[in-house]
Symmetry: C2
Subunit: 570 residues, 2 copies
């Protein structure tokens, strides 16, 4: 009889345990979980805080009892593994309820300890809440009662979700993010709709400033007329690098997570360059009897196979299944990760897959950039929402390197389709030929994903040359003339400074008006600009089209202006 011990009863750990039972009815399977809950809905925690998920019990997908009944798994909550005795293949366990310790032998040990929230070592930070498990949630829900203002530190997935849900509770929120934007997976020109949604919902967004310290709540004592002393407890004050002081009855730190590797490290298991537990393709650690899965391990990037930390539930579950297969002797191999992810905030969804432009630039990897702004479904059918789409493409192979989508409808679908195309090895140009389900309430005869493929082909085939939003200034400085091919009304309402206006439909007749020399054409989203660029190029003009049109330029420069404002001295 195989003895399997699993450390950590959420996502990867529990996927491994249940899969193991389905594969081996005879095995002894023990799951040790430090917290009081297993198989809880990690990704749902912020939504109970905000009351979107009304019942706390909805988050508890399984209990030790249900797992015992169905899978004959011995699940022990409030049990912490303190040490691994690799030589004798046993773990030291502390029952946190009774404070008793015992040892447990294993033939295979699966580590699924997850990741823990990063809390910076700054004065007063101990008052900050984090949100990782049900216990954290309970504390946070209790602390959020009768709070007049909250500060959320960090604009990642958890940060924006917590900010949204505190607003749902009626609590004014300030979101403090040290970089110039929330949602790091998005490039700056893509994130503006998220910033706008946060601000429109009343979140005070502080970008480019960091927390320096948290001043504890002051207790003020007042001597009353009758000689008694009344005391009043104030609220902590969050002091920022820009000099602001934000009183906050509630502070939530959502800066990021880091692999929970202490147990593995103390046992002498190899740790990778990113600080996660190092595993091979079969998810074996440097000890062949010990496996590790989930947020705690380093994964391999889907594009360049480098070590990456990708704390996502999908990946953790997948690894849990693989490790079960490997333990029972089946073929099983971990796969590289694309890191597809999505967040919803106040009705806006933002999703990404693969690498973003920031990362490609940092790595010096050549890339082609495409921006589009299609409707979520046919424009003639009511309710279509604009999607901001970005595709990053290898200019040599036409391979898709990454994609981003932001908007109020159809975001998840487009990113899922592109993620699937990446996994299937389709090139960017081949997106044009995908047959996607079309009826006017669901998409377009030329779906946004098809359009990306066509835009890519136009650039790849040399039919059009593009200028990116951040390249426009240099192009104009080098002597190019900017031609706005939108209507006069559009030009007047939303101009790019320095442009002349010749509507695309007048272009053949008015071509002589354009000055000699190189041209940059632009429209609202890039489509009329493309038509104009084709026309002008065929008439012998040197012309480039502003990629993504006015909208991408506007979003990009708005993001840059924010950055400049906050970095300027106050």
């Amino acid at each position: 009889m195989r003895r399997i011990v699993v450390v950590g009863g959420v996502a990867g750990g529990m996927s491994a345990a249940t899969r193991l039972r389905r594969l081996d009815e005879e095995a002894s399977i023990t799951v040790l979980e430090r917290s009081g809950h297993v198989s809880f809905a990690n990704c749902g925690l912020p939504y109970h805080l905000g009351g979107v998920i009304e019942k706390r019990s909805s988050l508890l997908l399984q209990t030790p009892e249900s797992l015992a009944a169905r899978f004959a798994i011995d699940v022990r909550v409030h049990h912490e593994v303190r040490a691994i005795d690799r030589e004798h293949r046993r773990v030291s366990v502390r029952d946190l309820a009774t404070d008793e310790s015992f040892e447990l032998g294993y033939d295979a040990l699966v580590l699924s300890p997850g990741a823990r929230p990063v809390v910076p070592n700054l004065p007063g930070m101990s008052v900050a809440h984090t949100l990782r498990d049900i216990e954290d949630l309970d504390h946070l829900v209790a602390a959020a009662r009768d709070v007049e203002a909250a500060v959320v530190i960090g604009g990642g997935f958890i940060g924006v979700e917590v900010a949204e849900n505190l607003v749902h509770r009626g609590i004014p929120v300030t979101l403090v993010e040290a970089t110039d934007q929330v949602m790091a997976p998005l490039d700056p020109e893509m994130v503006e709709p998220v910033h706008d949604a946060l601000r429109a919902a009343g979140v005070q967004l502080v970008l480019g400033a960091s927390v320096e310290r948290i001043e504890p709540a002051h207790v003020t004592a007042t001597t009353l007329d009758d000689g008694t002393v009344a005391t009043a407890v104030g609220v902590p004050v969050v002091h920022l690098s820009d000099g602001r002081a934000l009183p906050a009855g509630l502070v939530v730190a959502a800066i990021g997570v880091r692999p929970e590797r202490a147990l593995a490290e103390e046992a002498g298991l190899a740790i990778g360059e990113r600080g996660g537990i190092l595993v091979d393709e079969q998810l074996r650690t440097s000890d062949p009897a010990i496996f590790a899965v989930g947020d705690a391990v380093e994964k391999h990037d889907g594009l360049d196979a480098s070590s990456v930390l990708v704390p996502l539930a999908n990946t953790a579950n997948r690894q849990g299944r693989v490790v079960a297969d490997v333990i029972v002797g089946r073929p099983g191999a971990d796969r590289p990760v694309l890191g597809t992810a999505i967040v919803g905030v106040f009705g806006v969804a933002a999703a990404a897959v693969g690498w973003n432009e920031k990362r490609l630039r940092a790595a010096g990897r050549p890339h082609r950039v495409l921006h589009t702004h299609p409707g979520s479904h046919a424009g003639y059918y009511p309710g279509a929402e604009t999607i901001a789409l970005k595709l990053l493409v290898d200019p040599d192979t036409d391979a898709i390197l990454g994609a981003q989508a932001v908007g109020r409808d159809g975001i998840d679908k487009r990113i899922d389709v592109i993620a699937t195309a990446m996994t299937g090895g389709l090139t960017a140009g081949e997106l044009a030929d995908l047959e996607l389900a079309y009826a006017p309430q669901f998409g377009s005869a030329k779906d946004p994903v098809n359009m990306l493929g066509w835009v890519d082909r136009a650039v790849a085939d040399g039919d059009v040359e593009t200028v990116q939003w951040h390249e426009l200034g240099a192009a104009l400085a080098a002597g190019a003339t900017l031609v706005d091919v939108r209507s006069p009304a559009e030009h007047a309402a939303r101009p790019i400074p320095g442009g002349v206006n010749v509507p695309v439909d007048d272009l053949r007749a008015r071509m002589d008006e354009l000055p000699d020399g190189p041209l940059v054409v632009h429209c609202e989203v890039g489509l009329r600009g493309y038509v104009a660029a084709r026309l002008l190029a065929q008439h012998g003009r040197e012309v480039r089209n502003l990629d993504g049109g006015y909208r991408t330029w506007r979003a990009g420069t708005a993001a840059t202006h924010v950055a400049e404002e906050v970095s300027a001295p106050a």
Copy 2:
């Protein structure tokens, strides 16, 4: 200067014309359109009938004027091409407005005549409306005023959309479909939610009966007391094969479409086995100067390369672009079609890609069938809807042969992802590893598409053997015992006749209660059944799991019962 004439100004034809202009500024491009409109939103026509698309003008995406201004295309509506003089490369054109004729020479001719609605040759059928273009829509809208009852003949895409939109207008509708189900792309056990949605919205659904004749409206004359004669015009009566007589002030025929091939045929161009214009990979007809695109041409099936008719806008647009590339001398090749399609009716969406089981069986092609019933997003987040999913897989190669999805949310996304996986050559098992965007309002950590992959692997790896809903009777007749592993409450509420009830969580303890011999286990959707089957198989029992559980069985047998009822003598 290249002279290009395009016959037909919608979808494929107009895609070809505009792409040609972008590639060749010098060409003479003439588009001849028989109706009064080009580039109209074909797929939106039913929704203006129902007022969902309020303005008729929303359907008119381009006009001859806008196309002249932007693309310098000579677009002539109300112009019918009567004949092609292939020898002299010119077409005979009739201006339907003036009734004058003229000839027009071409270097390349592009035929994009589309498909025309099938109207059966039955007595009285001339009163029936069809819905193909704006003129049809205008007639239909006018005829739908003051109508007390309507009959829609045919339960395909257009039929159900017209039925829905007539209900939106407040008109009682009977939908008559000659086969046992609407939406032929779906297999019978998948279509029940569509039938239910139609019935719940008040549509009288008549399946398995056909129209035999339409009795014209009677005029009754009554002599009044004062000697004058009053006449009253009744309504036509639709007589069905089952003896029913349905009075209907409005009759719409939506039986299907057939390629508009007369012009090509009369010009001696080759016609294919399915009745469409025959074209090669460059969309050339049997005359190298004549090309054809869209609904009028035969396409190649994505699975077996056989000739197929796939009248979809996406495909037509794609062919329009290819033909433009070919005409200007660029590489361009038509691609096989998967035929991805979707329909929405009263909030239920039904979508399909590839082959269905009916077609696989008819072709004698081996296939593995999987049914699942996942939630559209995480069950712990409010608003999740159940999706009925079906996957058809090649048992030898694990290639995906087709998929169907029906439900109220997330249908288009799952079919688009599977269509993309098919195009990318991913196997069914590889669906398990797709990284799909997950936050609880958008999906699940184990997305429904991932789950399909896991279910496929379980069958492919021999971990579980399944019984399909239509095989259950034979399995039980052969001596298998049916074990319902749901809770007693579920068993009592929704039983499959003949089953014994042992909940999955009691199975280890109560295994001795099960009689000897082969077992079939089932639960509600197939998941607990799978767990039970794994358990029992490891204890040495011969066991199969009812694929898709009670729900698929119920839907399949309900569909069959309907078929039996209607085929029984009245």
